[in-house]
Subunit: 389 residues, 4 copies
């Protein structure tokens, strides 16, 4: 590979979408990636207009992802895209991901990975077989203080983990927005586009992923109470789950879209034998560490005492708040460094590889299937992976 | 009754106890009550020394509560105590409460009410039969901003309640302090003194009571995961509970004594159809109100816009923080006003009656019995009041 | 002295007053002091009614402080008051304080000490001559975390102090409440009752005192801008002051009664060569310590790592918030312990003596006179104690 | 102008610089601007390496800004840069800015504008004469909640402004880092590169600018105490200033680089007759509004009730924190929209024009010169613009 930016093609993310713009900023913010083409909408006219608004040449704006992948693969190496970024609703993850991998393109895919376990396992297999690089944008794990938390747990600073509280309350679906013209609400509450879970898939998976990321512990069984509060909505908009982790730790996870007045109040608390950690997404540059016998500490992004991985996830001197977009960008930055290393025949470093992969995606799909089953089950405890099927 | 302070006799609360001193301050802070006698310890020598340290005359310091009640009842009305305050460990609540009621004394009793449901129902019956006044010190409901929250829910400001999150994490029992000479740890982890529950009885009941107080809703069923993390401890030191309330609201309650680094982090969040409320015991003078479509508000103790009951629970101008002792004192103040009114043949006002009673105590005992059963049950949902017996 | 409570007589603090009730709670909360008599108002009828509401015998309720002092001194030792608590507006501090000292009674006096420097120096002389104990209720220095801050500075933890920011914004006088029937507003904005300063005397002195208490440093010169924002008000309701301390440290002090929306937002920040401390009166149980090279720490009331003086100023286990009344009570508690020790012919301990005295009062009066002069002066820097006279 | 990104050439910002990377992210984050060329260092070799790291073609990487401007102006319109971004230390602002304007290029320049008033006025004249667009990166005014605050003041929500407190404490220069190899510390404390002011120029100007931006009020006179705490440092590292504004409002401004333990704690409080506003840079997505008679409100980035300008400054749904880089990018985004509009012969909208200009820069230089003079003056009050010369 010559000295150039990585080239990204995008599936989805046309005008009016939310997460597409986030991905574009996250991908390009560090100057390592450029957007070169896209199939921005299943509506070709809208895709074209989106491409124009993004200053793309007309011949690199495609009507479908199939067309994009087919045409791009025929371009010379010095010109064609290097990877595909998939930012569509859940039911359109598997198709483009599979097509991209089969055509030899690396992939960045929004979460949850896909629509069901069958698709998930197929993608996992494809990634393994092709050796291509696959990133899943569980973006909250990109925050510097989340890395710090993970490292502190790993280093034994809080001792053996005993209790985990992870929560993601939102209030934006407290009313039935999906019957208006709120596109985000519409697809996220539609089983045909979202899958078998509503809130649990959309934000519960973030909570599950964040807890496993920080603690390094896996859920082994759970007990769930899922509910639909807004009449007429077909998918869960609230759920609470009791968790048991592999080391004997206990957990509570709750995710709600009807917690009126909440924005994106993702918060995690982890208590070990010697101390506890607390991190809150809406004030993400502070990690609170509590101790049995000394004053509570506030760890802050990019100060000298933070861990190497935490520092690597920061961009600017401490006290200049880094936000959601920068955390999201950390996934792209590490993904790009990994792709670049492999293109150059080098081993990616540990820092390069610090991003969620297809394996996190498989685990997330298992969480969704398990929690939906547990929610409807009369059994108290359901094993992780059990689906009643 | 002539114009004088109410006279309190105390059971328990000798030198070195924690809650006894709290009760004495709470009782006397407003100048409405004076401590006139006590049986401060089952150890007569210790009782005597405690009485001296409290500047009581020697002849009003008793060796046992039985002696105190017997002797005080024989004193003339102008001299004898008016009520008994019981601040002993749980297993010594029922005895003195029953004796006091039977002897015609009003009672203030620390929570939980007693040792088991049988005792609880007996006390409830006695209170009813005697017509005496009985206050249970679920002190957290004494905070001005908790009154404000209750009133706002009652007034429909947040709409129909959908979700309740109530939690009480502490860290002080993260290690096995009870094998040292920590008296507080010793009795609270001892089934003979504490009852069938550890943390769930000690602090879980506070959480349960606070949620029912604020929302006016009753739990109808629950699913619990109780655990003992510290080896050798016979009672639960951590527990998480899924709740279902009578109106269909869902809840999560967790209480932990092994949440390392936490002090008394009792927090409640209540979400309704129109907004949400959040209150945190460690910053008790702020009530956070969140709304679907307008800025979050911070309600503050004793500002002009607060409700009458919230104002009645405050003592000093806004911005001078009122704390735990003042909240606790609000129970005594209202109890005293009720007793005084009744002594004078008047009806207590609604504000006078704003304190927890024996009925809250019965409900708390039911909670303890249900949650312990639910924790050990293989059934997912256990009805409130069900004990497997 | 026999084993009994100390006896307090009160001057001022009749029904409807604010600070009188605070003093009564603060004095009696620990069971070391009892109110035995009072001259609660210059209006004898009101004094009498106040005494009744406080359950005092009619013959211990006096029409004037002169009468109270005269009559009490004639009572036998076992019966008469031990000390006088003065809770009147500023212009009625000197008279009762002088009379009490001359009659051999110890004194607790609200701040500011008196009306002018002449009175202040006379009281200082009297205290010295009589050897009696005199406490001035600069109550904010009673908070446990303020003690902690002082001790940490004294122990050199933050290094040589360089910069001090102390502020006391209030908003309650943003409008001209004094023309209504707000008694508090009326006397505090009246030069005849308040003295030559408005806000600077009422709350500016608290800020000055707090900064000197924590840092142990004295102001040597200042530059002030005082202003009256509310038309028709004769005294300053806002002021900002640049300070220079004896060790070369620089400071900023501002106090405002027109900071709309603020309650009692007294806050101090002290920066030394190695770290900084921050304390906020409205969340008084946390002391923030910031460091050059390690995480910010939160020191919390009554945790094991706090200093002896901080622990001595706390009453209940950490996490149960202690508030304004308890901080205020710490002055009374230490005053009482000092009086008691001296009555018993013992030396008070260092902890006993940890309360503000007449010397703090003299210094506060000097601050008032200096800052008022500096505010009107055309000179940039005015020496502490300089008054243009 | 055809449908394409705007083309940016950069002066300064080579490898190892801090603010250069910030500008590159801020410029390109929205996909409206691309970096096409640069003179990244006065060291040609370093400039070349920086260009390579940025994936620029070698022939667009220049050894000097003079060369860049000369060569770029000769390129065809479809290829040459559209504007110059100047990110060098203060003493190298004027030269490239002047050259760029004279060559017909628009300019974005870091603050402070330049080295002295003479340069400042010359640039102001040049901008006026050329009609080119000039943005000064007073980046803190780019935060959504700062826009909200400005709009609320402008709309009269807090009434006539009375008091302004603006502060910028940092601790990074508490020690003499400039003698080590800290490049940032070195130039900022060197009068030859930084100018006549240290902290007051570097961060004091941000405070001054923020206060004037939000309130729309101009300082008319000031009284300053500047100090150098770190021995051997030639420029102020701490300063406190009393301010008087044109409408009679009073202010306090302090800026410190020796406030040990502080990061970038820029905070502003503005009190009007009806309410107060508070904003803190380290939690930038919340604007606190306090009121005389109703609960404090928390305004949050990108919620429905925010003003149009505040919404325009946000990128992602509420609750996903936006940070320093996004605020910085808002200046570039509005600058770009203005340039684009003018290129297309259209009038920029009010939102397009919502960025700081050369006029803010002139005012900032005046602030620096006045405050340095005031700091050394024996006069108490110094008029804004007075320099003793």
């Amino acid at each position: 590979m010559t000295n150039r930016k990585l080239r990204m093609g995008m599936v989805g993310g046309g005008i009016g979408a939310f997460i597409g713009g986030v991905h574009r900023i996250a991908a390009t913010i560090d100057g390592e990636i450029e957007l070169v083409c896209g199939a921005f909408s299943s509506n070709p006219e809208k895709s074209k207009k989106s491409g124009e608004a993004l200053y793309l040449p007309a011949d690199r704006v495609y009507g479908t992802y199939q067309e994009m992948i087919e045409r791009e693969r025929q371009l010379p190496e010095g010109e064609r895209m290097d990877f595909v970024s998939i930012v569509t609703p859940n039911h359109v993850h598997y198709g483009p991901a599979k097509a991209a991998l089969e055509a030899g393109f690396h992939v960045v895919c929004d979460k949850p990975l896909c629509f069901n376990m069958e698709e998930a396992l197929d993608l996992q297999r494809l990634v393994k077989e092709t050796g291509l690089t696959f990133a899943l944008t569980h973006n909250y794990t990109g925050y510097p203080m989340v890395k710090q938390a993970r490292d502190m747990v790993k280093n034994g600073e809080i001792g053996k983990v005993r209790k985990i509280i992870v929560e993601y309350p939102q209030g934006w679906l407290a009313q039935r927005l999906e019957v208006g013209n709120n596109k985000q609400a519409a697809w996220r509450t539609d089983p045909k586009q979202s899958g078998i879970a509503g809130g649990m898939g959309d934000i519960g998976t973030h909570a599950e992923n964040l807890a496993e990321f920080i603690t390094g512990l896996k859920i082994v069984e759970m007990c769930a109470d899922l509910h639909i509060f807004v009449e007429g909505r077909p998918l869960d908009d609230d759920g609470s789950v009791l968790l048991r982790y592999e080391n004997g730790a206990r957990g509570v996870l709750f995710a709600s879209q009807i917690a009126a007045g909440e924005e994106n109040a993702l918060r995690i608390r982890v208590y070990g034998e010697k101390g506890g950690l607390e991190w809150f997404q809406m004030e993400p540059n502070t990690l609170i560490a509590k101790w049995l016998d000394k004053p509570t500490q506030l760890y802050r992004t990019n100060l000298g005492y933070t861990t190497a991985a935490a520092k690597a996830a920061a961009r600017i001197p401490a006290g200049h708040p880094e936000g959601y977009l920068e955390a999201f960008a950390n996934i792209y930055r590490n993904f790009a460094a990994t792709v670049r290393a492999r293109m150059n025949g080098q081993e990616p470093t540990e820092h390069n590889l610090d991003f969620p992969t297809v394996d996190d995606g498989v685990r997330g799909m298992q969480f969704i299937e398990t929690v939906v089953y547990a929610g409807s089950s009369h059994e108290k405890w359901v094993k992780f992976g059990e689906t009643g099927a």
